[in-house]
Assembly symmetry: C2
Homo-oligomer: 257 residues x 2
């Protein structure tokens, strides 16, 4: 088995930074579960780097990637890993082109307005996958889909959800031009989500962790919603995590399907 | 203003480890928002360590803690911080005694069976706070409430939710002896949660991130529930994050209140 070279190690390491991922149009997935999903996908694999144990155990699955497979010693895996506990395999993958969304009457869409935390973004992609939301729109200044923390939190769901980075206002115009459906968002002065009659399809905006939905998008929302708190205490529960709020909203839109 | 000493810095650092937190019965909260909530709470504060800017800005609120307040330079804050981006204040706090739960007919209880990730635990405490669940039971081998990542993810909600570490089976026996309510858990062969008629009160068990609910507890569940996936793809969404699943379940129990 070919050993991973020093120059490959430093190349893999460079991909920890967004600017090099963009320049090379490559990203890194790490961990047995996610690598195994990527190997089964249509994505273009550029390199696989694993521990001797991993490579031996997965010999059969790796056969068709033969020239791309390299062995790494534990200390080398530690160098290239993005995590505190390095896993025993990682793969370099070509970024697929993101697909423009063709808005349809029967679909539900989710948009994230300046989500900052990669863990939240990844968790929300996993939520989209679960609730059959095929397209996720992120504002241009949102967290990076290809950061290791985002990919990790998706648990592979990024392979099944089309994530695009775009101007959300422009996407809403396209959505309005192509469907007869409404735009929803959560606001403190919105209607109790549990008492609202929600449609099967539409466009939901979730706001930034700290400051919520931007004013220019708020003006484009047809129906403001609100998740009520059930805390009885005087000192109120202040807010829900944005991924938790996304889950509750998606659940409410889907529960009557 | 008194400067933080080297010995205090190394003492604060020791509290990053669970064994020293338990030995000293102390924990550390970090960040302006959470420290400000702790200062307003009934907790016993042992030390406050902040940047000159923080101490100046919060002079009035800190007056009654005078002897406990120390100034730290940026490089000292960096040393004692548990986070990549150090905040400008942290406080050492006495661990409060956890209160035994007196199970009541009208309350909803949540139990976590071997939750491993501190971020998940903290997010679930925040969910309990939001949904008015006053008591959270963690199995003895669950993630630590007082780890910096857990506290951070609670966003202060740990001040409002009573978290106990206990044998869940024994707690269920107490719950059954003191209420006429049922025990719920999520399982792949459970009833669709959206079609189930859920009561206002009860005892909900959430399982470990990887292996779900332990067999001995499964045997004590009165009603098995299931959160259905709406993914249309052949390759299924595999699972929901445990904190996301907890949020959806709590939302379903509360939505008809």
């Amino acid at each position: 088995m070919k050993q991973v070279s020093k120059s490959k190690i430093s190349f893999i390491n460079s991909l920890k930074l967004k600017k090099y991922r963009i320049k090379e149009k490559l990203f890194v997935v790490e961990g047995e579960k996610i690598v195994s999903e990527v190997l089964k996908s249509n994505l273009d694999i550029k390199l696989i780097c694993g521990s001797p144990e991993y490579l031996e155990k997965n010999e059969y699955d790796l056969e068709k990637f033969q020239d791309l497979v390299f062995e790494a010693k534990p200390e080398e895996m530690k160098k290239i890993s993005s995590f505190v506990t390095p896993s025993n395999v990682l793969a370099i993958v070509s970024m697929p082109e993101s697909r423009n969304i063709l808005y349809k009457n029967e679909d539900l869409y989710l948009a994230l307005d300046e989500i900052q935390d990669p863990g939240n973004l990844g968790t929300i992609i996993r939520i989209c996958d679960w609730f059959g939301i095929k397209n996720l729109i992120c504002s241009l200044n949102s967290a990076d889909l290809y950061s290791p923390k985002t990919l990790q939190a998706t648990m592979g769901a990024f392979l099944r959800v089309n994530v695009i980075y775009a101007n959300i206002a422009e996407e809403i115009v396209k959505f309005k031009n192509n469907t007869k459906n409404h735009v929803f968002g959560t606001f403190l002065n919105g209607e109790n989500i549990y008492k609202s009659s929600l449609p099967k399809a539409g466009f939901i905006i979730m706001g930034n962790e700290g400051k919520g939905i931007n004013k220019n998008l708020e003006a484009m929302v047809d129906k403001k919603l609100f998740i009520p708190s059930f805390s009885e205490l005087d000192i109120h529960a202040e807010s829900l995590n944005v991924s938790v709020a996304s889950a509750i909203i998606c659940s409410e839109f889907r529960r009557n399907l």
